[in-house]
Each structure stands twice: as C-alpha cells, then as structure tokens.
Symmetry: C2
Subunit: 346 residues, 2 copies
C-alpha cells in the first residue's frame, strides 16, 4: 500500500499533533455534545433522556483484510457497525469516540483516509466525534469505536420484550454482505496467483457495497416512530439471522418460527449464491454483517407497516417449548442453529 | 506463561459464552446504570447531570510488557488509567466498557486474571461494567476501555479555566511510576541473561506499586468537594508534569511558573533516581504514569487546603507571555518542555 503515494511519517506530528490534525474538520453538530475532543473527557448532556452506549473492537486480520478493504470504507463501516447497535435499541445515535492503533507501515495519508470515511459517516448520520485515543501498534491496525445515543426511557427497546403471537420482522434484505465477502475473497486469491489480472467485480456492485459500505438503519427507527410502532424486542443482524433470532428468543424466554419463503433476498444475492454453489437461505441465516434490524411487533401494529416494502414479516413468536424453527419452502421444519460468524473461529 | 497451569481453550466457550462467563460476577451497583451487559447497547440515566466520557487503548508491546506485568495488575491498571480522566474533570466515575482482543496464546485462565483485576477496581471505585466486545487477535493483547462519569453542569472542570495568579497544585507525589518501570526493566534484562536469578525488588515496593497498580485520585475529587473548592482548571498526570502543565497553560491561554523545590517526591523515588543516576526532578517532569491530579485554584481557596499533606502547591499561573518556567533549587529559570512519554516514539 501507498508505495507510490506521498508518505508523511506520523512521528513528525506526535500523538497530540496527530489527533489535532485528524479531528480539526469535525465540528460539533448535536446539542447533546457539550464538549468534544480536547480535554480529559468529553462532556455530554442527555437532556432528560436515557443514554445508550455500545462499543466494538475491529482488528486487522480478524475483522478486515486490508488487501481488499479500502481504508476510507473501513472508517465508514467501523462507524456503521457501532451506530447499528444504538438503532437496535430504538435510539438516536449522537456521538462516537474513535481509538486507533497504527502500525509503522501507516503513513499519515493512510490515517487520513480512515478519518475521511469516519467523517463521511458522521456527516451523513449527524454524529459528533467527541474523543478517542491514538497509539502506535506493533501489531497491525486496531480500531475501537464507542457509540453514544439517546432515547426517552419509555422508547428504549430491549431484546427481551417479545410476546407470544407477536410478528417477527426484518428490514431490507439479507445475505448480501456475506456474498460480497466471498466475491472479494475469490478475487484476492486470483490476484495473489496472478497480479496482472484485474479483479472482476462486474455486476456485483450491490453485494460488494453491502460488505464494504453497510448502512446502519437509522431510517427504520425513524420510520417506526412515524408509524407510531414501538417494537416489543429488537436486535441488529450482525452475526446472521439465525443467531439473532436465538438471542431474541432466549432473552424473551419465547420460541420463534420463521418461513424460508419470507426471508428477503436481493436478486443479486440469490444469483451469486447459486453461482458459487451456496444455498441463498444459508447466506441469510448464517452469513452476517447485514446490519439490518430484526424486531417483533404486536399483531395490532401489522396494519401500520404491511404496505412498507422495506420491512418484511418473516415469522412469529411462539411459546418457549416450541423452540426456534424454520419452515422450509418444501414445508419441512428445521431447528434454527447459530452457525453465524464467530470471532473466535477465524 | 501458564505452561504449568490449567489451560482452557477460549474457543470452547465461543464469544457470547466467554462474555457471559467473565461478566457473571459483576453486579450493577449504580442507579446511573439502567441496563448493563447483554443487549445491543447499555442503557444509562444521567439523572440531570452531565455525562463525562473518556477512552484509552492499551496495546501489548507499546503500553505494557507481559514479561513483568501480572495480568491481574494489568486489568486493574487499565481501569485506573481511564477513571483518572473522569476524576480530572471533577466528576464521579460510574461505568466502564471493556473490549479485549486476545491472541491464541491466552487460555481462559489468563483472561480470568485480567477480569479479576478489573473486578477489583470496579468494586473499590464503585464502577459498573456495562458492556464491551471480545475478539480473537492475531496481534497480541489489545485492551480498550471507555469510562463514563457524571457531574453537575456547574461542577465540571475543564483544562482551560486557569486564571492569572491562581495557584498550581498537585496531589500525591511524582516520578515514582517511572522509576518503578526502570527497576522492572532492569530486572527483566537480568532475568533474560540469566533465568536462574530471581528479581531483586527489595525495598522498591512503593515505586513498583506506583507503576503496576496506580490508584486514580477519586479521593482528591471528594476532598476538594468537602473543602468546597472548585479548581479553575484540572488535568491528570499521565505523561509527566511538564507535559500536563503545558496543556493547562496552552488551553487556558496563560503562562505557568513552578518551583523545583516544591515538586513532591517520595524518599524512595528520590533515592532510586540517585541510585540509577537519573535526576529525580526529571523523573517527575517527564516520567509520567503517576495519575495524580494537577489543578489550579484561586488564591482565596489556599487557606482551605494549606494544611492538607496530600496536596502540594508547586507554582502559580502567570500571563501568557511569561511562558512555562521552572525555577530550580539553585534559582535558575528553565523553560518547561514536553519530553514526556509519547506513544509514537516507543
């Protein structure tokens, strides 16, 4: 990376100089933010709401591969992954802190690329960058982001509120991010064997974008609010649909049944899965990284959202003893298992 | 490490199992914490106060060396480093999130040791562990902690409020943590040359403890409150006294003058410095990691704290043009320079 580009050594700036340089473009946008970067701690004002906090650690070689992830996309995605957790609580995300561990292979220009992606995400989602930490790393790139959001106490949605007979809904479509990753991995192997061959990503733009540039569903939280629907339970789809259903069911002490034919798949997801010889349903159930919202609503709210094309009812909540099941297209009943992405098996 | 001890592979538990296993002992203690570990985000209630947030990233080989840092101490110190930033805002620390990246060399028992230290710190400082992230790491141990605290809006103390003629004060004593590190490094080198030789730490317990097990100054924040003193500016001493004075002066747009003879040094710090041929004053000015509080107060508050043995007045605030100076014991005037610990020069 960066062989032919301008290289400025980070050491020239020092830690405080680097933070100042990187954060100078970031202006405070929220009145929840009293003081951002530049003191021992940031100062926030919840204005009577409850504060939501979530954090993610992203490590080179585990969560991302710099061979095919552009640094700007990485910065953008790292923010989205975090915001998604705040939206999954039915909250409004307002702030992030960003900590970076940078190995010596990174010149200033590389770090600036990461921050460009972070800035893009902050501007699009109205987020204030309020703090962080920057260090050299002997061990590749480390990104740790904490996101902060707000919600009225009676609007917070937990994982444990699903009631029997509630409807199980999911936003957007599933499985695309996983297949985007498969295509990127395939092209990386081809490139490693023969660096003359340009990557063939034609016709795969949607699923590549699902993998490299996911969008957290702020819009769904706003939509549900407009429709006057408060989900009874909610979670974001980071580890695959099956794993998230099991979390909701376990924490709500209920069972859940979904219907394979209802699982929303984009045509490109479907075709690429077939092309690679993978079952498209398995991509949705176990692929992960879709960052859609999975939630339960009471049946009486169904009429409010039944015409929305971006939300699909895929099943319902049952009693605990019925377990978590999928009814297949051929009407067989399968038990749902969490075979999702597991950071410890990579 | 751990060659002769019980080893349980983390993979046996999986990510969610590991988090559940590690956090099961942690009970919510604060009414600022509505919901801790176990959902997409933690839920906090600021109860009308302002929220303070700070974050630190600690990386193996940069911030700590597992050759001489016991894992329990590492967990304890990682929390203290973070709490110190909340106290430096004159706040009450109440919650932390902890993210860990674990290389495959770490068995479950090693991670439990880190969490024992975290638990000890949480219990002693009345802190709730409310979330985090756990991942495997290809790059050694990664610890990212975010701390959250609260203060009434009119009690928050920033770095930028120092006024001309204010007195500059510091808690405890300085330079010890740096000398503790020098002793540990020396003994590590001896051990590497001859593993038969046991480390000789006799008579160095205080400075070793300053390095391995620092205590953030929650007590000083409480003491100032009792004395009805609100500092005009405050910062914690993590990078060395000189660097912190420069931060306060720059952000307050003032100058500062300190007196070498006033800098509080423990006798063991003084003797060890002499023994190693280092100037004890330089240890205080540039050593860092003391996690004491450096603050300015108005002169009229002096009578309230002049008899407290744990707070020392070391200088005063001047006009900006006078710069940052130290008057030496021999009455020479030296300009203060930040030669403190810099994460990018290691």
């Amino acid at each position: 990376m960066f062989e032919n580009k301008e290289r400025t050594d980070i050491n020239e700036l020092g830690e405080f100089g680097l933070i100042k340089h990187l954060t100078t473009n970031f202006k405070i946008k929220n009145d929840y933010s009293v003081k951002g970067v530049g003191d021992d701690a940031a100062v926030l004002d919840a204005k009577g709401k409850q504060t939501l906090i979530s954090t993610d650690l992203l490590l080179e070689g585990i969560h991302f591969d710099l061979a095919y992830v552009p640094l700007m996309h990485l910065g953008y995605k790292a923010v989205q992954v975090n915001l998604s957790d705040i939206y999954a609580m039915n909250g409004k995300a307002s702030q992030i802190t960003v900590s970076l561990g940078l190995s010596s292979k990174f010149p200033l220009e590389a770090v600036e690329e990461i921050y460009k992606g972070i800035e893009l995400a902050c501007n699009k989602y109205n987020i204030d960058l309020i703090g962080g930490d920057t260090s050299s790393s002997k061990q590749g790139l480390v990104i740790s982001i904490t996101s902060i959001g707000y919600a009225d106490a009676d609007k917070v949605v937990y994982r444990n509120g699903a009631q029997e007979h509630d409807l199980l809904c999911v936003s957007g479509d599933l499985g695309g991010a996983y297949l985007g990753l498969q295509i990127l991995e395939r092209e990386k192997l081809i490139y490693l064997e023969n660096p003359q061959i340009q990557p063939d990503l034609e016709g795969k733009d949607y699923i590549i974008e699902r993998q490299l540039k996911p969008e957290a569903r702020m819009d769904i939280v706003a939509l549900l609010d407009e429709m006057n629907i408060k989900p009874t339970a909610m979670i974001d789809v980071s580890d695959g649909l099956a794993s998230e259903i099991l979390h909701l069911a376990e924490q709500s002490d209920k069972g859940m049944t979904i219907y394979e034919e209802k699982i929303p798949l984009d045509p490109m997801t479907y075709e690429t899965a077939r092309e690679l010889g993978i079952d498209p349903t398995v991509c949705a159930l176990s692929g992960g990284e879709d960052y859609e919202l999975l939630f339960t609503i009471s049946q009486e709210d169904y009429k409010k959202l039944k015409h929305d094309v971006d939300i699909t009812v895929i099943g319902h909540v049952t009693d605990k003893n019925s377990g978590c099941k999928m009814v297949s297209k051929s009407n067989n009943v399968h038990e749902l298992k969490a075979q999702g992405w597991n950071a410890f098996n990579k």
